[in-house]
């Protein structure tokens, strides 16, 4: 996401979590209020409940693509490491920060965990 946001206690996963058991349990899906449009590898999201819109970069778009209610955070971490040349620890950090931001904004909903 283009704007850094303050993470609050409403988090899908604690920023300092490396506990695989938590990452293996948390499943995320898109909020019903969100409409997305893919644009050259990036994604523009519109929240129809707030009229706010957001842009996700390429990595954010891949994360968004997999948040369908079918994959755990661990699964998504694995997909990122396969698709991008990035250190696993960095990919995990970026993933956790983004999903917490998206949950905070009401764009993603947590299932399980």
């Amino acid at each position: 996401m283009s704007d850094p946001l303050q993470v609050t206690s409403r988090q899908a996963v604690s920023d300092r979590t490396t506990d695989r058991r938590i990452l293996d349990r948390v499943i995320l899906r898109h909020s019903h209020n969100v409409q997305g449009a893919g644009m050259e590898g990036e994604t523009v999201l519109l929240d129809v409940s707030t009229s706010r819109y957001y842009t996700l970069n390429r990595m954010g778009s891949v994360i968004w693509e997999y948040c369908t209610g079918q994959h755990t955070v661990s699964d998504i971490h694995g997909f990122l490491c396969d698709r991008f040349e990035v250190a696993p620890e960095q990919a995990l950090d970026d993933l956790v920060v983004l999903i917490n931001q998206l949950v905070e904004e009401g764009l993603l909903v947590v299932e399980g965990g």
Partner: protein, 344 residues
């Protein structure tokens, strides 16, 4: 004895297959609308499928028959000033959602009640004889836009022109060079679709832009660039505040263009430089730039469809940032190759 009220006069229009029946209690409520929709007048329409819009005159605010249910909630409140890139209207407004109805409350001017699902709009204007004609037109146009959205016709705040069957859109607010760009292209032979509010529609294979010809409003600064405007007779370039206005066909040999597929979108801004420049924009940036000029979310399901149409539009066009320098009359030489390039 209560005087018998004359029934409202009915005026018929058809906007790209959407029939409209407009009922006006007074001629002064009819004239601005007939001017706005002069290209869409019809002698008959399919009344079974028609949008019905009715404007009435009232003396006092308390004469407006409006009651809200307990589930009514405010979805928008504005002072009418320009905010965050959206243009100012000068008209304070609150928008309330009550079931399927949207109520736009313009306070001392009147109230608009719109039901998109039923295709109906009722306008109550307080002492309209004291209101400027362009305000009545503005309120009617708001209602029309909202009803047309429910029929798959969307408007964007942009200039639109056509050349050889290819469309160009220039989304921008006042002060960014939109109308100046528009006139520079118009006078070089582009055909006119709209100076402010073209309509767009998804026809399956692509999004098309549809003409919505209205008067062109120009500032004195814009007039100064174009000799034919500077020397135009008063009956053609009419006085107004804060802008003067004219019909394109009165000054230029161009005619109103046809529905077409837009292939280029320009986002202008004015720079203090001798020459204009263009820069290709990433599509995500183009969509973000377009959204404030197009999408107002009142009904979530309508907003979803409109967002998809806008995204499809951005996918099909090449979008550019136009840094508008002082060589205004040379603008067609910069822009026309873009239209021809995209078509190849």
């Amino acid at each position: 004895m209560t005087p018998v009220k004359k029934p409202p006069e009915a005026y018929l229009f058809s906007v790209y297959g959407v029939p409209i029946r407009y009922l006006a209690e007074l001629p002064l409520l009819a004239t601005p609308v007939n001017e706005l929709l002069r290209h869409f007048r019809r002698d008959s329409i399919d009344e079974s499928d028609a949008l019905t819009m009715c404007f009435r005159a009232v003396q006092r605010r308390t004469d407006i028959p409006l009651t809200l249910s307990s589930s009514a909630h405010r979805v928008f409140s504005g002072t009418g000033s320009a905010v965050e890139g959206r243009r100012g209207t000068g008209l304070p407004c609150e928008v309330i959602q009550d079931g399927s109805c949207l109520i736009a409350d313009f306070h001392h001017v009147g109230v608009l009640v719109m039901d998109g699902m039923k295709g109906r709009a009722e306008g109550y204007l307080i002492q309209p004889e004291t209101l400027p004609a362009n305000l009545i037109e503005y309120v009617f146009h708001l209602a029309l836009i909202e009803l047309l959205r429910h029929r798959g016709l969307y408007t964007i705040h942009a200039s639109a022109l056509e050349k050889h069957g290819r469309g160009i859109l220039i989304p921008a607010y006042s002060g960014c060079g939109k109308t100046t760009s528009f006139i520079a292209l118009l006078r070089s032979g582009y055909r006119y679709l709209s100076d402010d509010h073209p309509l767009i529609r998804d026809v399956g294979t692509h999004v098309e832009v549809l003409p919505f010809p209205i008067k062109i409003h120009v500032t004195d600064a814009t007039i100064a660039f174009f000799p034919e405007l500077l020397h135009a007779p008063h009956h053609i370039l009419q006085s107004g505040s804060p802008k003067r206005s004219f019909h394109a066909e009165d000054l230029y040999p161009t005619s109103v263009g046809d529905c077409c597929r837009p292939t280029v979108m320009l986002f202008p801004h004015v720079i203090d430089a001798p020459h204009s420049q263009i820069e290709l924009l990433p599509k995500s940036v183009a969509l973000q730039s377009l959204l404030p000029k197009a999408l107002l979310v009142y009904d979530p399901e309508v907003a979803r469809r409109e967002f998809q149409v806008l995204a499809k539009l951005v996918q099909q066009v090449a979008s550019y940032r136009l840094s508008f320098g002082r060589n205004i009359l040379d603008l067609p030489k910069l822009i026309t190759p873009l239209l021809e390039q995209k078509a190849c």
